[in-house]
Every structure is written in structure tokens, then in C-alpha cells.
């Protein structure tokens, strides 16, 4: 038996670089913090409590399932923390406190650990958790919205509100558009200019972390500057979503409002943080662009023609299924392929 080597030696070239999985996970988590702070301001401490519950339960589920499956514990790499934050960011702020705990089980145990652990998951764990919750608790996940507090109402009063939610539930912009059309949206949220401005800054009802396009854009640009993600997936996602929304979004063709679609719902969060997940998105740049186009197009198609007001979650999960195939389709041609290995040697 070969003794276990004390040092892991990989193939050359040996480039020393301070990037590790845990560094990436913690940096991505940190870049989501501004959005969390804004949501505390918007929806009260409730959103912070939900995020904390989600993170802690994800770490617990990961620890327990790794113990049960006999794997070495990898709780410190931060991937479960990031998954926990993302689960909390895509559920409404008014849900009961036990919901993120239930969501953590399919996200971490089924979608990640049973598939083989970090790096082998087919679907984005956070979105599997959200899809599971949406199928299990359709009422809570589609109605528990909280109207964002406005600046004039007295900051500290809002800031300290732990939140009972029944009295102030409201509708998201996308469900208003879905049910009553564009004119109802402008009636409920003010003129088009103020809609653009408020939606861009994040003062609108929505899931905990998805409201502010500006802060997510900021975090995404920071990740691009640190070369953690590239521009291919986010830009192609947003561009295709805007294009489809412009073509099919209105009463007649080419009369939709792309800005409202891009700024509302979870499209920004999905494009920058969910679709760019290393494990579940293609590695080749050309395939990444096709992946992003697919995500954006499917999202807007579900929003406009499907049964749900929001489609980012299912669009990304569907494109995740295609990721292995797309990596195969877009494989670059090799000049001078190696000669076929002798048959006897391979056996």
C-alpha cells in the first residue's frame, strides 16, 4: 500500500495565487451585505433574523449531512453560508421563521450533499431550496410581502420593528403587472420616472435581497473587479431579458417596457449571483453567453406567458440542467488531435 503523501503535489505549472474556494465564498457573501443592510432598513429586523436563521440552518444541515454521509467536514469553506444568504435573499420578508429552516434541507442535503458535495451539484442549491419552498408553501411564498418603509416615517421606529406582517402585506410590482397590467403599476407606484428611480435604489416590495438593483450592481461590479465573475453571464442575461421584454411585453409587438422588467423581481440578483455560480454554469465563454441568453429569455417568457409572476428561479434551474451539455457542445476544436491510444493499453 502506498503511504499517504504528506504534501499534495499537483501537476505543473505551479502558480501561487491567494485565491481559494473559501476566499471566493466569503468575498461573495461580503459583497451581498449592502443589499442586506438596505433590506433591514426597508423591511425591519425581520429580514436580518430570517437571513441569520437561514445561514445557521444551512450550516447545521451541511454539518449533519456530511457527518451522516461520512465525508470530511468542510463547513469552514463558507459555501453553506453563501447558500444560506442566497436562500434568505430570494424569499419574501414576511414568511414564518420556520420556512428558511425547511428550505435549507433540500438546498444543502438533496441538491448539494447527495449529489456529491460542493463542486458536483447539478443545480444551484439556493434555488432548489426556493423551488421546494414555492411548491410546499405557495401561499406564504407568494403573498408575504412587506411594503418598504419610506424615509419620512421616522427611521428608528422602522429600524427596530421586528415585524408582524399581516397588516402591511402588499403586492410586488411583477404580480401587479401580471394581474392588472402596466397602467395599474403606474397608479400604485407613482409615475414612470419615480418607478425607475425607486426600483433602481430598492424601495419596492419584493424578496429580502432582490429589491435594490443599484446595490446588487455594485456588488456584481466589485466581484468583476476582483475577477471572481466575468461579464459574460450577467450581461447576456440582462440583455436578452430586456430584448424579449421589449418585443413581447406590450400590447403590440416592440412596445414593452424593458427597464421595468430588468429592474423588478430577482433578475439582477439572479444574473449576478445565481446564474454565475461556478459549479452550475458553463466554463467556456461562448457557452456562458448562450447560457445567459437562455436564462434571460426563459425568465421573461415565464413572467409574460407563464403562470407565475416571477420566473428567474425556474429559468436558472432549467438552464443549469443544460450546463453539462453546453460545455460539450461548445468544446473548441483541437488541431492535431492525439492518436488513438492502443486498445490493449486502455484495458
Amino acid at each position: 500500500m502506498i503511504p499517504k503523501p504528506e504534501w499534495a503535489v499537483s501537476v505543473s505549472p505551479h502558480i501561487r495565487k491567494g485565491i481559494s474556494t473559501s476566499w471566493i465564498m466569503w468575498t461573495v457573501s461580503a459583497s451581498l451585505m449592502p443589499a442586506l443592510i438596505l433590506s433591514i432598513y426597508n423591511f425591519g429586523f425581520r429580514s436580518l433574523i430570517i437571513t441569520l436563521i437561514s445561514v445557521v440552518s444551512c450550516m447545521l444541515v451541511e454539518a449533519i449531512s456530511q457527518k451522516a454521509l461520512g465525508r470530511s467536514a468542510s463547513i469552514k469553506d463558507g459555501s453553506s453560508v453563501l447558500t444560506g444568504i442566497l436562500i434568505a435573499f430570494v424569499i419574501p420578508p414576511g414568511v414564518p421563521y420556520y420556512l428558511p429552516i425547511i428550505g435549507a434541507v433540500p438546498a444543502i442535503f438533496i441538491a448539494k450533499e447527495l449529489m456529491g458535495g460542493l463542486g458536483y451539484n447539478v443545480w444551484n442549491p439556493a434555488l432548489v431550496g426556493r423551488a421546494f419552498l414555492q411548491a410546499s408553501f405557495p401561499v406564504a411564498i407568494t403573498t408575504a410581502w412587506i411594503a418598504p418603509q419610506q424615509l419620512s416615517k421616522g427611521v428608528w421606529d422602522i429600524f427596530l420593528r421586528p415585524g408582524t406582517v399581516d397588516a402591511i402585506s402588499t403586492a410586488t410590482p411583477l404580480s401587479v403587472v401580471k394581474q392588472y397590467g402596466m397602467t395599474a403599476l403606474t397608479q400604485q407606484f407613482g409615475g414612470l420616472d419615480s418607478i425607475y428611480w425607486n426600483f433602481f435604489l430598492g424601495f419596492k416590495p419584493g424578496c429580502i435581497g432582490e429589491t435594490s438593483a443599484a446595490l446588487i450592481l455594485l456588488g456584481g461590479l466589485y466581484l468583476m473587479a476582483r475577477k471572481i465573475i466575468t461579464w459574460h453571464i450577467p450581461v447576456s442575461t440582462l440583455a436578452s431579458a430586456a430584448l424579449i421584454a421589449w418585443i413581447f411585453g406590450g400590447q403590440t409587438w416592440f412596445s414593452g417596457n424593458p427597464l421595468v422588467h430588468v429592474l423588478s423581481g430577482g433578475l439582477m440578483l439572479g444574473a449576478f449571483y445565481m446564474a454565475t455560480d461556478y459549479v452550475t454554469s458553463p466554463t467556456l465563454k461562448s457557452a456562458q453567453i448562450v447560457f445567459g441568453v437562455g436564462v434571460g429569455a426563459l425568465t421573461v417568457l415565464i413572467r409574460l406567458k407563464g403562470g407565475y409572476p416571477e420566473g428567474v428561479c425556474y429559468a436558472i434551474l432549467l438552464m443549469n440542467c443544460l450546463t453539462p451539455a453546453m460545455d460539450e457542445w461548445f468544446k473548441p476544436k483541437r488541431f492535431a488531435p492525439p492518436k488513438a491510444a492502443p486498445v490493449a493499453a486502455s484495458k
Binding site: I102, I110, A135, S136, P138
Partner: protein
């Protein structure tokens, strides 16, 4: 244990049609939203399986090998027609929910595969017990899936309210059916690994 008992045991656990052979998965997901539905369809399958096994076993020397599959289908269709007339008399309400699948028993993979693999080669008595084993294995599988899905999906068991609320609605949706079957299959494989010490390969994969 004599051979006949072994055949029944074989169909119940070691070659369970749903969890080990992975046959007839479509009805196993579709009708098992409650124990009652699973019980009804399972009983129908037991009836059809036993009687078609016996019929084919008796008449096997008269069936020409080249046309054996159509002949089997006709035999199965005969017994499906019989059970399709009996079931609505026993329980009209439940029959309404599983009606479509009772008619579809004609094309269930498990029945025709047992006729082809077992009843067409064996005498009457083993065929009867093999049909019993496979039928009750299917019934057991449907009831197990149905019980788990009914309990976690609606908080009830056999129609009696136990929890009083719906814990996880996803369990009565098709997705929940796939989850439950996957986890039970994994449990079966885990037990096999514990008992035999070998890593199980994918069961029948027909």
C-alpha cells in the same frame, strides 16, 4: 423455506417491482397521493398479475413464440376488463380517482415482463406464486409511497386527519413522488449494502 414462499418473498423485497426492478414507475408516481389510491390500484395489479400469470402458464404450449407479445397483451387485457368491472362495484369513489390507471394496467411493464420472464417458462403453481409475489410487492410499494406522501403532504393517513395541517404540500405534487421513490430506493440499496457488503448496481433499469 420452500420455493413458493421464496417466490413471494422475492417479489416483496429483493426484487420489488418499484424499488428494485424500477418497473411501472409512472403509476407509482401518479396515483400514490394517498394510501387509498395506492391500495386500490395495487389490488387491481395483484388480481391481473396472478390471473394472467396463471393463464399464460396454462396455455404456454399453445402460444406461438413469434406472436407471444400480442398474445400476452390480449390475456392481460382480458383480466383488466374483468377487474375494471369489479372495482367500481366495490368502491365507486376511489375507483373514480384511479380509473385511468386501472385501464392502463394493460401496458404496465411489470406484468408483461413477469409473463415473458417467468410464466411462459414455468408450470402453473410457481407462476401463481410469482404473480402473487410481484403483485403484492407492487401493492406494498404503492402503499408505502402513498402513506409517506399522504402523511407529509396533507397530514392525513388513510383519510383520517392526524396532524391537522399540511406540512409539505410538495409531497402530493409529482415532484414529491419522485423524491419519495428516490429516497426509498436509496434505503433499499443501503440495506442491501449492509447485508451483502456489495455496492448495489442499478437494479433492473428496464
Amino acid at each position: 423455506m420452500n420455493r413458493n414462499l421464496k417466490l413471494i418473498w422475492n417479489g416483496l423485497i429483493p426484487e420489488n417491482p418499484i424499488f428494485r426492478l424500477a418497473l411501472s414507475m409512472c403509476p407509482a408516481v401518479a396515483v400514490t397521493t394517498s394510501v387509498e389510491n395506492g391500495l386500490m390500484l395495487g389490488l387491481a395489479v395483484v388480481f391481473v398479475q396472478v390471473f394472467s400469470s396463471c393463464t399464460v402458464s396454462i396455455f404456454k404450449s399453445f402460444i406461438h413464440p413469434r406472436i407471444r407479445i400480442p398474445a400476452y397483451v390480449i390475456v392481460i387485457a382480458l383480466w383488466v376488463t374483468v377487474i375494471d368491472m369489479i372495482l367500481p362495484v366495490i368502491s365507486p369513489d376511489v375507483y373514480k380517482k384511479v380509473e385511468l390507471f386501472v385501464k392502463l394496467i394493460v401496458v404496465f411493464a411489470i406484468i408483461i415482463s413477469r409473463l415473458e420472464l417467468f410464466a411462459s417458462k414455468e408450470p402453473l403453481v410457481p407462476s401463481f406464486f410469482d404473480g402473487m409475489g410481484m403483485g403484492f410487492g407492487f401493492l406494498f410499494g404503492l402503499c408505502l409511497i402513498g402513506a409517506i406522501r399522504e402523511f407529509f403532504g396533507t397530514g392525513q393517513l388513510l383519510g383520517y386527519d392526524i396532524l391537522g395541517f399540511n406540512p409539505l404540500l410538495i409531497m402530493v405534487l409529482p415532484a414529491g413522488g419522485f423524491f419519495v421513490i428516490g429516497f426509498i430506493m436509496a434505503t433499499f440499496n443501503w440495506f442491501e449494502y449492509k447485508i451483502t457488503g456489495k455496492i448495489p448496481t442499478s437494479g433492473g433499469a428496464h
